[in-house]
């Protein structure tokens, strides 16, 4: 957790940005922002601004990476060097982003019907243009829209969000300052149709009851996040239909 002097994160039951403990930041998604990709999405989740794009399925190369039974997924999560308010970062992957790429890939290995495209490869890119805590969750939520928009069959559209703990309070959807100073952080990705957990990471200190309370919030958040995802996917088609329904 972060160094320096720890700020007061909860005042009179409210968080620094005025949210209640179980309240999400505002989430907006736009589908179809990268023309060359088969599917893409731009998400603004609080102050996070992230683009996800999908290419493929295409012939998996080099040949030795091919799986004759199913498609393979390659995933690349990166943060732009200008994404933080502080110093200019390095571009390209590092240890942190490589791990996030891996766990993101595993989420999509669960929901994409890979057996439909044996021997092929699906590429998923997640680029954080601006980060403010919870970028892996927001990236997965956006990438799920990008994959669905491409027409690649999937058993569900997953979403992700994190929860954590400040003092005695379990809070949903940590922003950067909360992430830096909270007592715990637990990002989770869920298949809303089944409730199955597709990604789970955690560090800090949580009791079993905290996990239960946090997971409750995560499941309740599906109502909002899934709706934003579905609306984003339908919007481009509905916009065209509306031209002719009046």
């Amino acid at each position: 957790m972060g160094g320096g002097e720890k700020p007061e994160l909860m005042i009179n039951g409210k968080r620094l940005d005025g949210r209640m403990p179980d309240q999400l930041r505002s989430i907006k998604i736009e589908s179809g922002v990268i023309k060359n990709a088969v599917g893409s999405a731009y998400i603004e989740w609080g102050n996070n601004k992230i683009i996800a794009a999908v290419y493929g399925p295409k012939e998996a190369l080099p040949k030795h990476v091919q799986d004759p039974e199913r498609a393979i997924i390659k995933c690349r999560y990166t943060m732009a060097p200008f994404s933080s308010l502080e110093e200019h970062g390095r571009s390209g992957p590092n240890r942190r982003s490589t791990e996030i790429s891996k766990v993101t890939k595993e989420v999509f290995e669960n929901v994409i019907m890979l057996e439909k495209f044996p021997g092929s490869e699906i590429d998923i890119f997640v680029e954080v243009l601006q980060g403010d805590g919870g970028t892996r969750a927001a990236g997965i939520t956006a990438a799920a829209v990008a994959v669905a928009a491409s027409g690649i069959p999937m058993t569900d559209i997953p979403y992700a969000v994190s929860f954590g703990k400040v003092g005695d309070t379990v809070i949903l959807d940590l922003n950067k300052i909360e992430d830096n100073y909270s007592d715990a952080d637990m990002p989770v990705a869920i298949s809303p149709r089944t409730g199955d957990i597709l990604l789970l990471q955690m560090d800090g200190t949580l009791s079993k009851d905290d996990v239960k309370a946090g997971m409750d919030m995560v499941y309740r958040a599906a109502e909002v996040i899934t709706k934003v995802q579905r609306d984003a996917l339908k919007a481009p088609y509905e916009k065209i239909s509306e031209r002719y329904t009046k």
């Binding site: 012939e59 200008f82 390209g92 590429d123 680029e127």
Partner: protein, 259 residues
């Protein structure tokens, strides 16, 4: 592999008849759109589209040490990223020679035109401001040089200047604007066979023999770069310089209007 739906013959036939795929004149830009401030964490940022080419220019400014040979000047570092999400032909992995060339040509245009005034970037005896300009290509459909240069100039011209107080950088709140010392844009021409076109699309670039980028401001040329195996005649060069002075006026006006 995505199929390229135009063939070399198709493009060549069009050009021989004085036409382009999208109906443009040989020396016209596509529709250019710019949106500034899209990454508020960066001191300056702009999303720019030239037709279906989409790039972000972003500026970060941080204190750093001056170069040993230039103790009284700030630093400029320009990089270009051909993001793999922008095209099936862009690879993951270390920056390609194409990406490095793109970054360096834009860097020279910025530097030579004094868009960054290095003498104005001294903080104290030990520290100067380092200005990082990143060009991020999000969707490729040709002419990354002009789109990247335009996005960089748009970001620099709408950029805030951080303050350095009590050994701390202040990046938010009431800040002054960054003051560019000049304004340059570039015009890039592609040569296919004998035809020369401004602002080539991806389909045109796929079959181009040579490319030339001319960066200039109102008065003088600030940087040039010729690329690829083909060649230009001296007469062509002179003509393209004239055209670049003329066409780049539109671009510079768009950027001045952002301020």
């Amino acid at each position: 592999m995505q199929i390229r739906t135009v063939t070399e013959d198709f493009i060549a036939d069009l050009l021989a008849n004085g036409k382009r795929e999208d109906g443009r004149d040989f020396m016209s830009y596509r529709d250019i759109k710019v949106q500034t401030g899209i990454v508020p964490n960066a001191e300056g940022s702009a999303m720019v589209t030239f037709g279906d080419t989409k790039v972000i220019g972003a500026v970060k400014i941080s204190p750093g040490e001056p170069m040993p040979d230039k103790p009284d000047e700030g630093n400029l570092m320009t990089g270009a990223e051909l993001h793999p999400m922008a095209s099936e032909s862009f690879d993951t992995g270390p920056p390609s020679p194409d990406a490095i060339e793109l970054g360096r040509v834009i860097d020279r245009g910025i530097r030579a035109s004094n868009m960054i005034n290095p003498k104005a970037l001294v903080i104290n005896d030990e520290l100067v401001w380092s200005v990082f300009v990143d060009v991020y290509v999000l969707n490729y459909d040709g002419n990354l040089f002009d789109a990247g240069m335009f996005a960089s100039a748009a970001a620099l011209n709408t950029c805030r200047m951080p303050k350095y107080e009590d050994e701390k950088v202040i990046r938010e709140g009431n800040l002054e604007k960054f003051k560019p010392g000049g304004l340059a844009t570039s015009c890039t021409f592609a040569k296919l066979g004998k035809s020369i076109v401004l602002d080539a699309s991806g389909n045109e670039e796929a079959f181009m023999d040579a490319r030339i980028t001319i960066s200039n401001d109102e008065a003088v040329i600030r940087a040039m770069q010729k690329g690829l195996h083909g060649s230009f005649t001296n007469a062509e060069l002179e003509n393209l310089i004239d055209i670049s002075f003329n066409k780049s006026k539109e671009l510079r006006k768009m950027i001045s209007d952002l301020r």
